[in-house]
Amino acid sequence: MRLPGGLIDRSRTLRFSFDGRAFTGHPGDTLASALLANDVRLMGRSFKYHRPRGVLAAGPEEPNALVTLGTGARAEPNTRATVVELCDGLAAASQNHVGSLGRDLMAVNDLLSPLFAAGFYYKTFMWPRAFWERLYEPLIRRAAGLGRLSMQPDPDAYDKGFLHCDLLVIGGGAAGLAAALTAARTGARVILADEDMRLGGRLLAESHTLDDLPATDWIDRVERELASLPNLTVLRRTTVWGAFDHGIFGAVERVADHLPDPGGRVRQTLWRITARRAVLAAGAIERHIPFRNNDRPGIMLAGALRAYANRWAACPAGPVAVFTGTDDGHRTALDLMARGVEVAAVIDPRDGARAQGPYRLIPGAVVTDTQGRLGLTRIAVTTAKRTEWIAAATLGVTGGWNPNLNLAAQHRARPVWDAATGCFLPPDGAVPGLTVAGAAAGQGSTHAALRSGAAAAAGALASLGIAAPLPDLPRAEDAPAAASPIWHVPGRGRAWVDFQNDVTVKDIRLAHQENMRSVEHLKRWTTLGMATDQGKTSNVTALAVMAELTGRGIAETGTTMWRPPYTPVPISVLGGGDTGPDFRPRRLTPTHHWAAAQGAVFVEVGAWMRAQYFPRPGETHWRQTVDREVLATRAGVGLCDVTTLGKIDVQGADAGAFLDRLYANPMASLKVGMVRYGLMLREDGHLWDDGTCARLAGDHYVVTTTTAQAGPIYRHMEFARQCLWPELDVQIISTTDAWAQISVAGPQARRLLERVVDGFDLSNAAFPFMACATLTVCGGLRARLFRISFSGELAYELAVPARYGAALMDRLLQAGADLGATPYGTEALGVLRIEKGHAAGNELNGQTTAQMLGMGRMVSARKDAVGAVMSRREGLLAEDRVLVGLQPVDPADPVVAGSHLFTPGRAQDTATDEGWITSACHSPHLGSAIGLGFLACGRDRLGEVVTAANPLEGQQVALRVVPLPFIDPEGGRLRD
């Protein structure tokens, strides 16, 4: 029902729907308050037992009233109705039921509840084993659960940003406003973040006055002043959900969630806030008291009931009863009566409790049962003498307040139990730079909250050397905090502790019986405190019950760990908003757009997009294209963009000595104008990377790495330069992107290059295999030429400034048209190198050694280098698997990389495993599939037949062990 007063704008009416029914509300309403105003108490079904549930709380701690907002791709499940700002046209639907919300067929689970006790599935669904995956688990997942995802891509936009401040104030209630005001007046940079649509926090929910005026008057005055201070930023509708290292906080601002039409706005923004100091003023969360059947719609937190009445002028239904362990609940009765709501009784377990107004008080009593299938109708009130049923449609319950200290406990510090106030308090210094104030620090009266907020801000700024005078704060109520005498009402039946996960006092008792003594075990065994509400209304009550069972006391029982995010954060906003091709950055080669225009098919290689092959009209299968590219390269000349290989410029007087220590083989002895193949080892002696090293001058080298290791090798070299050998005079810098590098390979490579170089002698005598030079091409363009070969053909790599890469590629293709010039992609590149027996990433997989590649002698014994000593370990020297060529006995058979090699006829298991196939391709040169593999004693087994086992596809293929390379074993082609 709608009450008089409140902080809603009655001059405007908003239309919305719930489960298809049309309702109206007002600006300022939440979905929950509007539903209550429309007499809707039933809002959902519980997780496990499908019990009818209504709203419990009035804020972000809500465990029950979870709804799906919106439809289609925008459907957002598990949204708390208590934090949904009502807007015109809002469509909400209840969750977790089969059939209507009122007649949920899955409610049969409630009758079967003895079967579904905590941990039931660990014990119940044990046999037969195969049934778990196909039958039991899908059934359980269907029966239990909350909302369902739309399974469609999120159509909304999200963004992120970075904020920096001297002081971050988290929470805009009494303490937060006082803190922000105190700090902002000094001129310090302050951010005030509050998750509500309106500043004021609990002040908006109470009927208290400040300086004898409504609290909203003071809030308005403070807001006006805050708005006039340019050094203060107010983030409304912003939840700070994580406290990270070095004063960094994660926050989500709901930019457009509350708008009927977001226009061009992003839906939400993820803020990363770096704060020199922070004040946590997140308030407190009310506790309920478990008693039998305490989960019916209409049973709510007493403070929430007060908030709905005072702020939103809404009440579920009358008459109302209040069950309170503290004086706080009496205020609920008074506030409701002030708005004309009938209060049936106030039940207070304290024998000496006194009525604070003209309502019926039942002291020394507890609520022991309730009735009402889809909503509360009656409550049973039991005193030492008797039990009485009282008609009530709404019951407010309070067992005190828990400081909302989660952000202060996210760095592993455990909250401290305070017996006097009956609550856990944030530990001192739990998060460096963060001070806790107000109700979050146990300073729950308005007077204490205001003053502790101001003091916290002044203290935080003082530690930064900024003096902050305390402001004049209004007079306010200062009721002392007191502990509730009871945590739960013992008795028969089920008394819910965690509403969201359907965990009862019985379940906790069972967990205890099963020897789950630690609260962390209790949590995992019962699922208590999990899911979207993270146990905000249940954790402390649960461990108090646990403490009672163990007799250990609450302080010793302790709390579970808090971890970010404490409130639900959409994955979309954490993802930053980019999806599809923009999901992560891509690196494009200098010839990318040229290749795209040629119709190339691209492949992801790390962050790079590389041309995989260049299909031509009439080619219907990628193999046709690749075979053509390979044959054209071996017959004429092929062109391939190899820019992605890492290039590192190494200069300095000690450049040679530096590289001698990094490469397993010598580099200081390399002659100027020459290139050498090099191996780098990891510290443990295994192969890390290979590549070429060119010496352009006595004190100037260019190192190349594989595409995959360009970053790691550069980082390693920088580490070596700065930390391992700072005495060496070496300067390094990456030039990977600076130069476009094109491989020109094939018997016609020299003839083609002669057409583009500016008077440079390419003859074998002047520029032999493994030579390098700086030169100019195409009429004066600076360039670098390396005579190196990955394909086994006469080959060069020509580098020009990246901006000219595409033009050079095009020029080479045109100039070499009569020579058969053909662009080729990574697929043909792979075939060419496998035919030549060259190692690549598949062979350098982190488990292999130089010896396995047949390059053991490249690890120089005459000098030391990273990994050299470890490469001579006994275990590594004993390794007998070496790289061999593999060819199917039946040329029609496939060769599959990853297959393992066995002696034919032997059992196939780990003990008899003799190696594996690293790379495989179809060789157009040989007309069959071929492979490279590591085979035990492979060098002595040439000509032998081995079995390649591919159990994933049930393949057994007979392969002959052949020498490498498959083509041009004498290497004449690349040296001619």
Partner: protein, 185 residues
């Protein structure tokens, strides 16, 4: 002079440009760049008469500018000279130093806002650098959309971002989106 035609980092014949409200995003296609690192015992040079800046700083001179990239290391900017052999020009002016051409190692973008305050607001959406401390003349290495970049505040209302040339498309995509959204706010 070569007859090959260069393309910009974004692959166009002319630099890309985007106007959104009071914000302008431009691709700088003709910035010549070279790294400069002191060798052991070398004196700090003053190439083209420019006093090299200290940590976190950018210094502009006549047709040349430099920003600090590490101890004894700078990047030298030569606006309009991307096509020249900038390393060969710079090396003789920096005896005892290692000089490496970096012109095409980077894509360079510049953003202009209506004023310094607008740029401060935009910076909050761009990078995790405190705009209040990134005053004109500052240069920082930081991360942007998972990519390493240099951010230079050339003036209160003008910021340059240099990132890997190969990732120019991704950088532009992110910059354009952020600038457009900020202009619409």
């Amino acid at each position: 002079m070569t007859d090959l035609r260069p393309v910009t980092a974004l692959g166009g014949e002319t630099p890309a440009r985007l106007q959104a409200g009071g914000h302008t995003l431009r691709e700088i296609g003709d910035m010549g760049l070279a790294s400069l690192a002191l060798r052991q015992g070398a004196a700090e040079p003053a190439p083209f008469g420019l006093a090299l800046p200290g940590p976190g700083q950018w210094q502009a001179g006549a047709e040349v500018a430099a920003f600090w990239t590490g101890p004894g290391q700078w990047m030298i900017e030569r606006p309009g000279r991307a096509d020249s052999d900038i390393a060969a020009e710079l090396a003789p002016l920096c005896p005892g130093c290692s000089v490496t051409e970096q012109t095409d190692a980077f894509a360079c973008f510049e953003i202009a806002a209506a004023d310094g305050a607008a740029m401060d607001r935009l910076l909050a959406r761009l990078v995790n650098l405190d705009p209040a401390r990134l005053r004109p003349g500052s240069a920082q290495r930081t991360g942007f959309e998972h990519l390493p970049v240099f951010v230079i505040r050339r003036a209160g209302d003008r910021v340059a971002m240099l990132g890997m040339r190969s990732a120019a498309g991704s950088l532009w995509h992110a910059l354009a989106r952020i600038v457009t959204r900020e202009a619409a706010r």
